[in-house]
């Protein structure tokens, strides 16, 4: 029974990591109908910049804030100077453009930080939290906290503020949005900024759990993307739920069936769901101006 709860805790922590990446995907998708496949690189940059800043003897809090700001700026620059000039009418080309960007960012990062992995100290003590035989790292708690916080902020922004409505309007009807006096470029810029910031926060929060290196974004990107697709790419809450689901299936699959098969089990589930419900678990049939 202890094992069962331990798997549950492990699954929730991994799921939280996937959810936090998925939220980034959805934010950009909702506004510009672009799947930003460079999302994983924001996590990588967040973690590695934090490692470097901490290396200069800066305090943890300051390093955290500065890294998030720097990654946000990088995200905005990418939108302003690259994605904005991409082929606006063609989402597929834009997605391929983001793949190119992710390879570029990874290449530059591998030149700057090398191919070695780096360790980042946990936010608080390294002592595990133990409760009747079930243990978890204090850092895991921070990860889950970060997911919930980001989720709340994004949900509030998108559903309860005028700014959120403006952003959402861009994805529904670009022309009508323009006619209403909303600048879609500004909204897309904001979406990239938000998604880069959330990626950086996630990257710093999860780095202490294992290690971080120039290529850490690839796997996280794939898992986060899977969560975003499984959740239906529509709202942050749906993809968060899907992220946790993937984490739990992984943990129980590895725990109860076989650790060698855990990825196969997850992706079988995703394929199965998408065959039955192509819009994802929480997605509605697309009524907007297309997209994927």
């Amino acid at each position: 029974m202890t094992d069962f709860f331990q798997f549950l805790v492990n699954g929730l922590v991994s799921g939280g990591i996937y959810a936090i990446v998925a939220i980034g995907f959805v934010t950009i998708y909702q506004v510009s109908k672009v799947i930003n496949l460079a999302q994983g690189e924001f996590l990588m940059l967040g973690g590695l910049i934090a490692v470097t800043l901490l290396g200069t003897g800066m305090s943890y809090g300051l390093a955290f804030v500065l890294s998030v700001l720097m990654v946000t700026l990088i995200g905005m620059l990418l939108q302003r100077f690259v994605v904005r000039y991409g082929p606006m009418s063609n989402q597929i080309s834009l997605i391929i453009l983001t793949i190119g960007l992710s390879i570029l960012i990874r290449g530059v990062a591998s030149m700057f930080w090398g191919k070695d992995a780096y360790a980042l100290a946990p936010f608080t003590s390294n002592e595990p939290i133990t409760f009747s035989g079930i243990s978890m790292a204090q850092q895991s708690l921070w990860v889950i906290l970060a997911v919930l916080l980001l989720l709340f902020v994004f949900w509030f922004l998108m559903n309860k503020t005028l700014l959120g409505k403006k952003m959402y309007a861009c994805s529904v009807n670009l022309l009508a949005t323009r006619l209403m006096g909303i600048n879609p470029n500004k909204m897309a810029l904001l979406a990239f900024a938000m998604s880069a910031a959330s990626g950086a926060i996630a990257g710093i929060a999860i780095a202490p759990l294992n290690v971080t290196s120039y290529d850490v974004g690839v796997m996280l990107g794939i898992k986060g993307f899977s969560a975003a697709i499984l959740g239906g790419l529509q709202n942050p809450i749906g993809v968060t739920a899907a992220g946790f689901l993937i984490g739990l299936v992984e943990a129980f699959g590895a725990g109860l069936i076989s650790s060698g098969l855990k990825d196969a089990i997850v992706f079988l589930l995703i394929i199965g769901v998408l065959m039955i419900k192509p819009t994802g678990l929480f997605g509605e049939p697309s009524v907007g101006k297309g997209g994927l």
Binding site: T2, D3, Q6, F7, N10, G11, V13, S14, I17, K115, D116, A117, Y118, A119, A121, N126, P128, T130, S135, M136, A137, S140, I206, L209, N210, V211, S213, D215, V216, V218, M219, L220, E250, A251, A254, G255, S259, G260, K262, D263
Partner: protein, 388 residues
């Protein structure tokens, strides 16, 4: 019209790609000094295997310089021609062909990774070109082919050495956790194969993916399996994540890690979680703690001093692999008075004490090492300490 334009762009791109690849194929040819002894080397200096290839290259460059300062080989300067295989199998075969056909080398060292090495083995054995590989895979020298050798310890040596240690400690119930890549699965196979021979029982067997962000579920299963010791087989950084998570999960059994993670990086990544972790490794990692009566001690000390002088860092195991390979080629050439046609067979008879271990080849064993050339270390106070 649009399709026509696209087609045009595509064909231009294709031509450019072809041109570029053709150009890299015909890299500049090292004009050999007349009468020099040419030895070729293929290392992975770029790409994922570059952490292996770079120290390997540095070690042989250092040794060739030293040999040439003391007169080279039989008065002839040694010329080392190094190629980069970019961690790619095809590039490695191209490189060895170039070294053989264009440069006319007498023997080749390399490559760093198992995949590229296996490609080179096929070429070298067909062309009767002596080859010493720096890669881990057992298939390189199993079955043993004439003229093909390798210097690193294999997973069999590591497995036997760890099991010997477990037996001494009386830890009979073993949990194993290994990477599902070539390196880890090789270990998995050997760990399963040799456990009965040492009277050990594998109570739990788990795998992980090289890029997995968490292995805590596998560790949970091992924790409740009743294992008395955990063996991890993988290359960095995953083993450092495993020991971090083991601590967070309250897994208190001793952990032994394979030589794939035995370096400074592991200590740096795992931090305080590394304390108490056991590791099987070559002796090169602890030059200061070696026994004085060990025949390897002076060889290792000499190598470490020279390497540190040249590159300001301590050498790791990879540097030792290529260093030993080069020295064995020179030794073998000495034994046949520089008759390069007999070099392939001559290496088999060389009796060489290297930094990796004591090499004693036989007709069926072209790795030549024994498990006693590995040691068990433990991390204490952020440093590797010799245990036995």
């Amino acid at each position: 019209m649009k399709t026509g334009l696209r087609f045009g762009v595509m064909s231009v791109l294709l031509v450019v790609i072809l041109l570029v690849s053709a150009c890299t194929g015909g890299k500049e040819v090292n004009s050999g000094v007349n009468g020099s002894l040419k030895i070729g080397a293929v290392f992975s200096m770029t790409g994922p295997n570059s952490p292996l290839g770079v120290p390997e290259k540095q070690a042989v460059e250092m040794q060739v310089k030293k040999l040439n300062q003391s007169g080279g080989f039989n008065g002839k300067p040694i010329e080392l021609i190094i190629e980069d295989d970019k961690s790619d199998n095809t590039e490695a075969v191209k490189a060895i062909r170039k070294l053989h056909k264009t440069d006319g080398v007498v023997a080749v060292l390399g490559s760093s990774g198992s995949g590229p090495s296996l490609g080179m083995v096929e070429y070298a054995s067909k062309q009767k070109l002596p080859l010493i590989s720096m890669a881990a895979a057992d298939q390189i020298t199993n079955p043993a082919q004439s003229g093909i050798y390798k210097t690193p310890h294999t997973d069999i040596h590591g497995t036997k050495r760890i099991y010997q240690f477990l037996k001494e400690k009386g830890w009979a119930k073993v949990g194993i956790l290994y990477d599902s890549n070539t390196y880890g699965s090789g270990w998995g196979k050997q760990l399963k194969k040799y456990a009965p021979e040492y009277g050990l029982t594998l109570v739990s067997e788990e795998k992980y993916g090289t890029k997995d962000s968490s292995m805590s579920t596998q560790l949970t299963k091992i924790k409740s399996s009743g294992a008395q010791v955990l063996i991890i087989a993988g290359t960095n950084p995953a083993p450092s994540t495993v020991v971090k998570e083991a601590k967070q999960l309250g897994l208190t059994i001793p952990i032994v890690s394979s030589h794939g993670s035995a370096n400074k990086k592991f200590l740096e990544l795992a931090g305080e979680s590394a304390e108490g972790i056991y590791m099987v490794a070559g002796k090169l990692l602890i030059p200061d703690q070696l026994k004085a009566d060990d025949p390897q001690t002076p060889v290792i000390k000499d190598f470490v001093t020279n390497y540190k002088e040249s590159y300001l860092v301590l050498p790791d195991g990879f540097a030792g692999y290529s260093y030993d390979g080069l020295n064995m080629i020179i030794e073998a050439l000495k034994s046949v008075d520089g008759d390069t046609s007999k070099l392939g067979e001559a290496i088999e008879k060389v009796n060489y004490i290297g930094v990796t271990g004591q090499f004693r080849f036989s007709k069926t064993d072209h790795n030549g090492l024994k498990e006693d050339s590995m040691v068990i270390l433990q991390v204490k106070g952020g440093k590797y300490q010799l245990v036995n």
